[in-house]
Structure formats: C-alpha cells, structure tokens
Symmetry: C2
Subunit: 323 residues, 2 copies
Amino acid sequence: MAVYTEVSDDDLAAFIASYGLGTLVSYKGIAEGVENTNYLLQTSKGPYFLTLYEKRTSPADLPFFLGLMEHLAKAGLNCPTPVHDIDGQMLRTLAGRPAAIVTFLEGVWIRRPQVRHCQAVGEALAKLHLAGRGFDLTRANALGPTGWRPLYRNFADRAREISSELPDLIERELSALEAAWPAGLQQGIIHADLFPDNVFFLGERLSGLIDFYFACNDALAYDVAITLNAWCFESDYSFNVTKAQALLKGYQSVRPLSAAERHALPILARGAALRFLLTRAYDWLHTASDALVSRKDPMEYVRRLKFHCAVQSPADYGLEAAR
Amino acid sequence: MAVYTEVSDDDLAAFIASYGLGTLVSYKGIAEGVENTNYLLQTSKGPYFLTLYEKRTSPADLPFFLGLMEHLAKAGLNCPTPVHDIDGQMLRTLAGRPAAIVTFLEGVWIRRPQVRHCQAVGEALAKLHLAGRGFDLTRANALGPTGWRPLYRNFADRAREISSELPDLIERELSALEAAWPAGLQQGIIHADLFPDNVFFLGERLSGLIDFYFACNDALAYDVAITLNAWCFESDYSFNVTKAQALLKGYQSVRPLSAAERHALPILARGAALRFLLTRAYDWLHTASDALVSRKDPMEYVRRLKFHCAVQSPADYGLEAAR
C-alpha cells in the first residue's frame, strides 16, 4: 500500500513514447499492492497500468509472469496483458527498476463477497486453469510444501510473540502435511493468490482477474483449496459451506474435479491455510506495527487451519460424494 | 501517501448513484496526499476524484474549500470543481467521513521545474489571486505569523533533536518577523501551498492548479513569497534567481506588484520559509521514522531561511527596482 519508487514526469514521458502510447495525460501512484509500485496512467490512447518491480519480485521470474498474462489473455481469459514497446519488448527499465505496462482492466473488487460471487470466481478459476495449458515457461511454487519449513525456520524463534500456541501448531501441521501431501494430482498453471482483491466485477458480471505475481506450476486442485480459503470464510472466521458449494459448482461447471482431487481437497485446504499463516506470520514479525502498510493478522489463518483439521470428508466443503 | 479510509464497493456504488454519475467502472486509492484519502474513480461518465476528509482537515473549513474551488473554476481558473449531488449538495458523508467528488484535472506535476515552468506558475498564481475576488466566505490563515509561536511551543522542547542550532534560530526569527511583519498589504484569497506537486502541466502548457486545502485570506504577496520558496531553490538549496525572475515576471504580467509588496518581499519570503520549517519540524518529530509516509526534511527550510536573512533588497529576487 505504497509508492516505493518515484518516477519523474520526464522519464515517464520518454518511457511512454517508446511504447507508441501517445502522450502522457496523467499518472497517479496507486495505494494498493504491497509488493510493487503501481501507477495508473492516462495517455492520449487511454488508461494503462505501469508496474515497477521492487525487491520482493525476482527479476528472473518476470518473463514468466508477463508471458503468462499474455498467454492467458490470448487464450480468452479477461486479465491485463502486457503492452509491447516499439521494439517488441514487454520488460523494460524505468527509474532503475524492471518495469512493464499492462492494459487497464475495468471493474471493482468485492469487499463483501456473496454466494453468487463465489460461483463466478470458481468458474473463472477453472477457466484460468484451462487457459494456462500450453504455456511453455514454468515456475516452481516457492510457497508450496517444500518451501514451508525453510520459511518457518526464519521466524520460529519468534513465533511465540504472535501466539503461545503457534510453535506447536505449526510444527505439528508441517509434519502432518509433509506426510500426507498428495502426489499425482493434475498439474498446471495456478494463480496461487486468488483473493477477492484480485477479482474484478462490473455490476454482477465478473470482469477479470489480476495480479499473477504468485502464479506458478502446481496441482490445480491446490489452487481451488487456496481460493476456498480466500472466499468462503466469514468475517467471524466461520466457514460458509453455501459459498464453498457455489465456488466448487462454478469451478466444476468448467472443469470437473477428478476423484483424486476431491479426495485431496481437505488436506490441500489445510496446506493452503498453513501457507498463508506462515507468510502472514513472517510479515507480521517483520513489519513495524506503526508502518502505514497494513499488516494482515496471521491468527485468521489459525482459525481456518483448525476448521480444516476438523473436516471429516470432502462433503464438508459442499462437494457431493465422489461418483 | 496512503489510503486511510477503506470504502466498500457497495457503499461507493450507492454514493455515486446519488450524484447521477452513472455506474462505477473502477476505483483506485491514490498514494499521493498525506492529509486525506483520495480515490480516482472511473464511472460510465468519465474520471472523477473522490476525497474523504481525515482528521487534519477541519469539517468546519470544508464549505470554504469546496465553495472556493467552485468559485475559482467559475471565474475561469483551471482547477477541480466539486460535483453536486442530485439534491444540490457538494459535501456528503461516506464511510463515516465528510466526502466530496471533484472533477478530474488532466496533467502531471513537474518533478524538475525549469525556468519556463516558473514563469507559467507565476502567471497562474496571479490569475488565482484575481479569480478569488468576490468569493464571499473567508478563512483566517492558521499558519500565518500569529500561528507560528503557538505551533513552535508544541515542539520547542524537542527542536534540538533535529538540529542543535534550531531553538536559537527559530526564537530569533519569531521575534524578528513579529516585529517586522508588514501590515496593509493587499489581502485576498491565497493558495498558501503552491508547490510543484499542486501545479499540473500537459506538455509545456500549465493545465491547472489543485489542492486548495490550505487556502485562506491573507496578503497576496505572501503567497508569492511562498511560491518563490517552493519553486526557485535547486536541490542543493541554492537560490536560482533566474527562476525567481521568471516567476515574478509571469506574476506581474497578470497582476503587477505594488511598491509596498515589492519592498516587503524579502521579509515575506523569510516568513514563508519559517512557516514551512515549523510545520516540517513538527511533522518530523511526530512521524515515526519507519512509517511509509515520507517525512520532509525540515533542514531544507533552514537553508532557505538563511538565504532570505542574507538578502539585501528585493532586487536579490530578480525584481527590478521599484519605479
């Protein structure tokens, strides 16, 4: 929630010119996004989004992210697509940072999702999974199961500062999930961060998906599990099975889950909750409490994790029994 | 540089509807502005700016600020003008805050002003001073000479934390300026904060002025002195007399300064430097060093203040001798 890199009007005007986007009419730093610097540009050819990639985004991953957005857009998914400069490049340098311009996606994100939104996001997630086929770059999931223990080691000695139960809970979950993590599920491109602020609606219509900077190759059903965590808990942390049912119905209307995927859903959802618990706990301990960037409470994911641990079968997520 | 108040999509859609601005297409929190929360809206009728007024803006002043923008725009000045809702109101409430929608002003602010920009801003400032005539609300300048000593008292005991010379310097300047402050100069509406980020250009053309939230009634020449401080020092704090000359030439091409105003310019410029030194020092001591809102270095104004103290005559600002 900040502009990390200031760009001068002269530099920006020259940058825009090299894209053939006409003249610069206005640009405003956007307060959303904690990872990178984002500007909303108005040029004589319309609105665009400019992103300057900051430290937390690895430059080596940028061809994957930008190429993926272009691939998905060409495959018919509504998402921002990178603009090529007059030399054909998507990735350039501005103010000493890697930088790219992407098309502007209309829509607003839904602060209080309803059941109908969950169905639409399920459908869109499945479309993304299909659209990702044939993309020829790959990126390992750094925040998948093999990444969790190293991430935890970075703050294990301070986890108690968040909650006294946290060290035991995390150790137990790491062991349980490492032992039980399913292999052999269908792999593909996953979004890996499809929270409500990454899904735009225009009125009742889902207008598109944004923010592919956690996208990677992993089990498609794991992405479903992440999205269940992101959309189907109420603000009191209770699980709303009607929303989950709608999300899964929307998903399966485009891409039916296999029996193995259905069976794996509880453990995948538990893993997804742990993944967000770990990154939020890390950020919580490494962000000053009075910084203006808002810290997200890791304990929200302890609540989710406990729900998933108590689940008896995929039916608890509103999935009908595997046929 | 932050969004202080989050607004939900539902609340915003209802808010927009009461203005007859069509449907909401997009809204983004803007990172600029440290006082209030700003959103750039796209509606089916075009782009608009939404401001939610936070603690530091007194609700009692809002009719003055909004009425002034409307008055200035009607008088032909290029500036945002408040949009009236379908009941004719300019000031409403959103997310528990006073809120207003203003028109979107095209243009970008110049990060490295050149002489030609200074001439244009001088001209625009004089036009603002003429356009302000006939506006029937008034607002005292809380940050004028009578406000400086009370402001200093709030942090006098900590001023030494910024620089050991600061307490003596400020005490001496307060006494000198209180004794020498000119009376009887022409009064009117002043912008009082016309820094480069409040002046927009489209290419070489000045496209308008923004941010009237320090505007008040005071000596017009004091506004010229503030603007000289804001535009005519280089990044090494040296005074650029060519820029000052251009600014004053631009100003006088629209509204010639009186002999009394020319004569007063050095003391007014010194006062203006003290005013920004005081508010910056206050903010410096009251903002956490690791907050993401950027603190502005008060010592920059010590350098400016010392320049003004050494000035011998109005000619040092590039003013020809009074005729």
